[in-house]
């Protein structure tokens, strides 16, 4: 039964990634290696982040909310993710769609494999049942959307032909998506929301960010003529 549950979790976590890869047309571009490259850059970025965190934030096991400034500074380190994604995007030749999707999916897949696989292997296979694992899986699905949106925003930000009145919006969305985990954690902590509500809020916020990004992207894509 427990191995079965593990199978359930794996299906829930990885199948959406596969579906996105398969049906977004990426497989036709031969973007498999590019995705792996993106994953490697993800790993490198995380390593750099960990070095910074370990150097400047030695006691990063404080309770959330007790040290908001410290948490804020720690989240600032997450801006390195944006740099990493920028590097990934720069390394991928091609048109807007495939470029953005390859970077986003590669990045998100690397994250999901590196941060979730071991957790599921150790946790979800045990005899003990816990909703936690299902929640983690759904959260990974949300982060897929988030990463694709972030990659798109970075691409938009790096474009010179983006209308100047969109530039602050894009920057604001980028900064927001970087600090989003901290903000949401704080809000949920003060609302005393349960894990399911938290998950729902995350999903809604991410979808809103995604919708904004899509709209801006669609506008630019039409102007520069990629469909």
């Amino acid at each position: 039964m427990t191995l079965y549950h593990f199978g359930n979790c794996v299906a829930l976590i990885y199948v959406p990634y596969y579906l996105t890869y398969k049906y977004s047309g990426l497989s036709e571009y031969g973007a498999f290696w590019k995705c792996i490259q993106a994953g490697c850059i993800y790993m490198f970025t995380q390593l750099a982040k960990m070095l910074i965190l370990a150097t400047f934030f030695p006691d990063n096991v404080s309770d959330l909310g007790s040290d908001v400034l410290g948490e804020f500074l720690k989240s600032t380190v997450d801006l390195a993710d944006l740099v990493g994604l920028y590097v990934v995007l720069a390394g991928i030749p091609g048109k807007g769609h495939s470029k953005v999707l390859t970077a986003g999916i590669g990045w998100a897949t690397a994250e999901v494999i590196l941060s979730r696989a071991l957790l599921l292997w150790v946790g979800a296979r045990g005899a003990e049942f816990d909703w936690k694992y299902i929640q983690k899986c759904l959260e990974s699905n949300i982060s897929l959307v988030q990463h694709i949106a972030t990659a798109t925003l970075i691409w938009l930000w790096s474009r010179h032909d983006l209308k100047s009145n969109f530039k602050p919006v894009v920057t604001a969305l980028l900064v927001f998506s970087s600090y989003k985990p901290l903000l949401l954690d704080l809000v949920l902590k003060f609302l005393l929301a349960g894990p399911w509500v938290g998950l729902f809020v995350k999903a809604v916020v991410t979808l809103i960010v995604g919708a904004f990004t899509l709209t801006i992207y669609a506008g630019l894509a039409q102007v520069i003529g990629i469909f």
Partner: protein, 552 residues
């Protein structure tokens, strides 16, 4: 195709046999059992053989679903139940059909009312009356256990016919189950079992030269339905305490040659008293078969002390009424005189013949009476069948020290009057008197740990060493002798595993996983549609922006 690319990847870097190794890896890698949400210490029921008869629960490993008393049906269920709810009929049913039993004991046994105590005594007696093939464990009540008990008993509702079918279905899918796992290893026969018997004496002095002996005997072990819960405050902590107090008092008297008594005093702390007095049996055999005669052979009487704080009435149990004028009858008279000081204390003799057809002896003195030594047992219990002689209820909190002190006074006075052959003598009193603090301290020490014979039978047991060292302070020639079961035809056998830890996993029924799979498939279908129809969404976004561009 992605698959083809992946194939290339596999060709280049990963050999195909990984596809075989991986499933094997999944199968053989152990699921870690430590990640349980709850862990409780549990105490296993007695498990021993005596004279070829099996007693107690014969198995130990549990890996079963928890069910309540009203809800279980097969041997795949472990029943968790509060002591108060478990009736003897239920237990008999469980013994035959269930998979395992976990009894939750209240965390303070002294707070039970008289009826509940009686219930526990009867239940214990019934549980131990014949061997049980299923594992039986006891746990002490905690609030977490209460939660589990509640949840488990709520599952009864699934069988409730008053609910609608939909409700029943939902609850059967969403029910919180619990899996109890106790993996204590195998229950094998305990090796190197040694029952220690500690002896020591105070030499008396008589002008004739021939000094008779009075032996004082108490067994120091305890008994109850679970070895680790048998603290045995009254039975036989009280006997040991009285013996130690007598040793202390008389050692002071005997230390000065002028006040030395006319009798040798032999003190004997025997082991294995609860398993048919194995310790005293072995000791007697050794003493009587020894080539040079032993002091016990010319004993005036052997006084066994057993369970002496339960009541005010003292009983002198004999297997043959002592002849008029014999030391035992003189002592009995002294005892009556001593008891007269206390208005509440009564002293009576009880005569019960030794039943040679029965393997199990009633009182410890019968061991000595069989070997034709004049012996009797002093106890506050009227019958050897009293269930309070071996129960987990017998704890320090259930013991009345004042009664114990009073009984010590009676016995000490009677013995001193007898030894110095004075009537109404004021030998004890003043600086040399029964010390309540001493008695309390000993009682606290003895009841601070379970004293089941199987727990005390290992080599160099701390309690045995402590008792020996203390007797050494007061007595001469303190020796420890050991009773070891015969290799071929053992009188008694103990088994390992007296306690363990139960891991409680919260689990969901198998049907829940199927429902979950179904839900995941539906969810993935939605994701598929979303990805597939993303172009529609994109088109909407385009139309939004294009209208904006036109407006601009």
């Amino acid at each position: 195709m992605w698959i083809e690319e992946a194939e290339e990847l596999f060709k280049g870097y990963l050999p195909y046999y990984v596809l075989i190794v991986l499933p094997i890896f999944i199968i053989i890698s152990p699921a870690s059992p430590v990640l349980a949400s709850h862990e409780f210490p549990v105490y296993r029921m007695q498990h021993f053989d005596l004279h070829g008869m099996s007693h107690g629960s014969r198995s130990a490993a549990v890996n079963l679903e928890a069910r309540s008393l009203t809800d279980w049906s097969t041997s795949r269920h472990c029943i968790i139940v509060k002591l108060q709810d478990l009736s003897i009929d239920h237990f008999r049913n469980i013994r035959q059909k269930a998979g395992a039993l976990l009894v939750v004991l209240p965390n303070d046994l002294s707070k039970l009312n008289a009826e509940e105590k009686q219930h526990l005594l009867l239940l214990e007696h019934d549980m131990l009356s014949q061997e049980i093939s299923v594992p039986v464990y006891f746990a002490i009540w905690t609030s977490q256990l209460e939660t589990i008990l509640d949840e488990v008993s709520q599952n009864v509702a699934t069988n409730d016919l008053s609910k609608s079918a939909a409700e029943a279905m939902i609850s059967s899918v969403a029910a919180n189950g619990y899996q109890f796992v106790v993996s204590p290893g195998t229950t094998s026969v305990k090796q190197d079992v040694k029952l220690a018997t500690i002896q020591g004496h105070l030499p008396g002095y008589n002008q004739d030269g021939k000094v008779p002996t009075v032996a004082i005997v108490a067994h120091y072990d305890s008994f109850g339905v679970a070895p680790n819960l048998s603290f045995g405050a009254d039975s036989n902590g009280s006997g040991v305490v009285i013996l130690l107090e007598l040793a202390r008092l008389f050692s002071t008297l005997y230390s000065d040659p002028k006040t030395r008594g006319n009798y040798n005093l032999l003190f004997l702390l025997t082991g294995g008293g609860k398993i048919n007095y194995q310790g005293s049996k072995k000791w007697l055999e050794d003493q009587l078969d020894a080539l040079d005669g032993s002091v016990i052979q010319d004993a005036s009487f052997v006084m066994c002390l057993d369970t002496l704080s339960a009541a005010d009435s003292l009983y002198m149990h004999v297997s043959k009424p002592p002849k008029e004028g014999s030391p035992a009858s003189l002592f009995f008279k002294e005892l009556k005189t001593a008891a007269d000081q206390f208005s509440t204390v009564t002293v009576d003799g009880v005569h019960k013949k030794i039943n040679l057809a029965d393997d199990i002896l009633a009182w410890e003195h019968e061991r000595f009476s069989i070997r034709r030594l004049p012996a009797f047992t002093l106890s506050t219990l009227k019958s050897h069948r009293e269930m309070s002689r071996g129960t987990i209820l017998d704890t320090r909190k259930n013991l009345d020290v004042n009664k114990l002190v009073q009984n010590v006074k009676v016995i000490a006075e009677a013995l001193s009057n007898f030894v110095y052959n004075v009537s109404q003598g004021e030998i004890l009193g003043g600086s040399l008197d029964v010390d309540k603090n001493y008695i309390e301290a000993w009682m606290d020490y003895l009841t601070s740990q379970p004293r089941s014979p199987q727990l005390l039978s290992n080599k160099d047991n701390a309690l045995v060493t402590f008792l020996k060292d203390n007797l050494n302070k007061y007595l001469r020639d303190v020796k420890v002798s050991y009773a070891v079961p015969d290799k071929r035809d053992p009188d008694f056998l103990f088994y390992d595993v007296t306690k363990g830890t139960v891991n409680v996993y919260s689990v969901k029924p198998a049907i829940f996983d199927l429902v979950l799979t179904f839900a995941i498939i539906v969810y993935l279908g939605v994701v598929y549609l979303f990805v597939q129809k993303f172009s529609l969404l994109y088109a909407t976004a385009c139309s939004l922006t294009s209208s904006k561009i036109k407006q601009n």
